[in-house]
Amino acid sequence: MNSIILLAGTRLLVALLLVFSVFMLLRGHNTPGGGFIGGLIGATGFVVYAIACGTEQARQALRVPPENVAMVGLGIGLFAGVMAAFFGDAFFVGQWLFIGATETEKGLPLSSVLVFDIGVYLVVLGSILTLTFALEEGAD
């Protein structure tokens, strides 16, 4: 599709969508959001880019094939679940690390739950892009 308005708008939108998707991913633990919705928003960014500039460009922007993104995400998610084993817990028990925690402050909480969410993010991003790219390329 060749439209000046779309191209100009896309530049702005894609950046916004990608940043927003990471924001959604990170705030997901205590407030609405998370890996799934973040992945969807991130995928929307690339899809918009693909509509404006073609899937070829979008694939280049992603750098790695979307299927690989999804599979790596699956690996990360699984790893997060298995991590509990190193601490002697059952599968998928959240492991927490509070950086700089004091008596009253919780500090910066890092957890295997977040790692799992990042995995979900990548799976969703990768699989949706795989399917939409396949559809768009088929339509050309």
Binding site: E67, N68, M71, V72, L74, G75, L78, G81, V82, A85, D89, A90, F91, F92, V93, G94
Partner: protein, 499 residues
């Protein structure tokens, strides 16, 4: 304890990731073999634990049952996981020769491993909604495997497979929703208690029939089996074999689990339906097979027919019949997967699976002929192979309760099975090749030949072992059936707070 239950699911998933990232290299297929081997070891370890300690259960994320997701293994689950491991390993080795580079690049090995993970998950879960999730994992990977390569026949078969399986999935999901509405729980052990105490038996029976429909599609029961012969002969032979061996059996397993553990409140109604369905499935499947002229299509229809035997065991619902169902389930996975593997070699040698276009295999490849005869005779129920004992137990179980008619059908279907097997034998092996070609095993490169024949010979050996030494297997099936009919151990293991 929780480890041993999770490993048969986790290992294939990790293997899938590695196999996918190495799909462009020749090592990708070997990762799949290694992963399958590790899965089999993990499954065997699980079996040892279950044999020693009885039913074991683990709670994911340490959420106590019935609130969290439970993984649980009794003897039936354990043996199913072991047999999944064996079939998975055999097919992974076979795939070294069968799957070409183009399919590997599309991620065949990763999809295959995800499928195995889904199957193991379905066998091990103790939570109904989680079972739904595993069904979906299986379904998505099987969709991918089925249309991998994208030939016209594959896409055609794929559409029918996808459409009917999606309908079954949604009925399953609706059933889950309604069951939750009536009982307020989805943990299977907890459901068993809740269904016993519930006073809405009529409603529960309706829900039970919904589950029967949903699992019936998966298991390819009459009259819901039409997707199976439409799709199973189209993909690569490795894919056909693993589908034929495992996928429908997950449906059978789910039926056995649900209709012994949860829905045993109105046996007179639900199991009578199952009995009729089983008889029709046996007869229609075998008649369908008799009309076919293609190696794989005949085998596909036979899956349907044989599923009927397993459901017959469940439907008769006597201790001996359940023993027969469990025994049949295990025997059939090995035999049917093996037959599809043999069909793959035959196709490689003769260039087709249409029986009218091939022949002469006995003369040119006698080893393959022997390897075909073992599973084929076992399927038809010739003594002393595994299929004979499986059929014998089921027929004995129906005679014990004076169900002459049922026993007659089971025997007649066995006879027709022999007809189909001799048809394949006569056309593909006995008669000369119509175009005078004499395909020899030596035509296949040595490495590929080993990858083809080792799994076939391994599974055939297993069939012979089960056939000649059935005693320990029958005893095992008896113990498994006893656990199924008296689920108190199962319920105690899940709800007793064991981690």
């Amino acid at each position: 304890m929780s480890w041993i239950l999770g490993l048969p699911i986790i290992i294939p998933f990790f293997t899938a990731v590695i196999a996918f990232l190495t799909k462009e290299r020749p090592s990708g297929a070997w990762w799949s073999v290694l992963g399958s081997l590790l899965t089999l070891i993990a499954a065997a370890a699980l079996m040892v634990v279950v044999l020693q300690e009885g039913v074991v259960a683990a709670q994911m994320g340490d959420w106590p049952a019935p609130f969290g997701i439970t993984l649980v293994a009794d003897l039936l689950s354990a043996v199913m996981v072991v047999i999944t491991g064996i079939t998975g390993l055999a097919v992974a080795v076979y795939a070294l020769a069968d799957i070409d580079e183009a399919k590997e690049r599309l991620g065949y090995h990763a999809l295959f491993q995800v499928l195995i993970a889904g199957v193991c998950g379905a066998f091990l879960t103790g939570d109904l909604f989680n079972l739904y999730v595993w069904f979906e994992v299986m379904l998505i990977s099987s969709f991918g495997l089925l249309v991998l390569g994208g030939s016209r026949a594959q896409i055609d078969g794929g559409i029918k497979y996808v459409a009917l399986n999606l309908v079954s999935t949604i009925i399953f999901l609706t059933g889950v929703g309604l069951l939750y509405g009536v009982t307020g729980t989805l943990n299977m052990a907890d459901l068993a208690l809740a269904v016993d105490q519930s006073d809405q038996k009529g409603l529960l029976t309706v829900i039970a029939v919904m589950f029967m429909f949903a699992f019936g599609v998966k298991a390819a029961l009459f009259p819901l089996f039409f997707w199976l012969p439409a799709a199973y002969h189209t993909p690569a032979f490795s894919v056909s074999a693993v589908f034929a061996g495992l996928l429908t059996k997950v449906g059978v397993y789910a039926l056995i689990r649900m209709f012994t553990l949860v829905f045993d409140h109105d046996i007179g109604f639900t199991h009578t339906i199952l009995l009729w369905v089983a008889c029709f499935t046996m007869v229609v499947g075998v008649l369908g097979a008799a009309a076919q002229q293609d190696f794989r299509k005949i085998l596909s229809f036979h899956i349907v027919s044989q599923i009927g035997y397993m459901i017959l065991g469940l439907a008769l619902y006597t201790p001996l019949a359940i023993v027969g169902a469990v025994f049949y389930l295990v025997h059939h996975i090995v035999v049917k997967a093996n037959l599809f593997l043999v069909a793959g070699v035959a196709q490689r040698l003769c260039g087709d699976t249409d029986l009218r276009k091939i022949g002469g295999l006995y003369k040119s490849a006698p080893l393959l002929a022997v390897l075909f005869l073992i599973p084929a005779f076992s399927l038809a129920g010739f003594p002393p192979l595994s299929g004979f004992w499986a059929k014998y137990i089921l027929v004995k179980a129906s005679l014990d309760i004076d169900a002459w008619f049922i026993a007659f059908i089971a025997l007649a279907v066995g006879l027709l099975t022999i007809y189909s097997m001799t048809k394949i034998w006569g056309e593909a092996f006995w008669k000369p090749h119509p175009e005078g070609v004499e395909p020899e095993l030596r035509a296949i490169p040595r490495a590929a030949l080993i990858a083809y024949l080792v799994p076939i010979a391994g599974l055939a050996t297993l069939t012979i072992i089960i056939g000649f030494f059935p005693e320990p297997f029958v005893q095992f099936a008896e113990r498994a059936a006893a656990q199924l009919l008296d689920p108190s151990d199962y319920i105690a293991a899940v709800l007793g707070g064991g981690t």
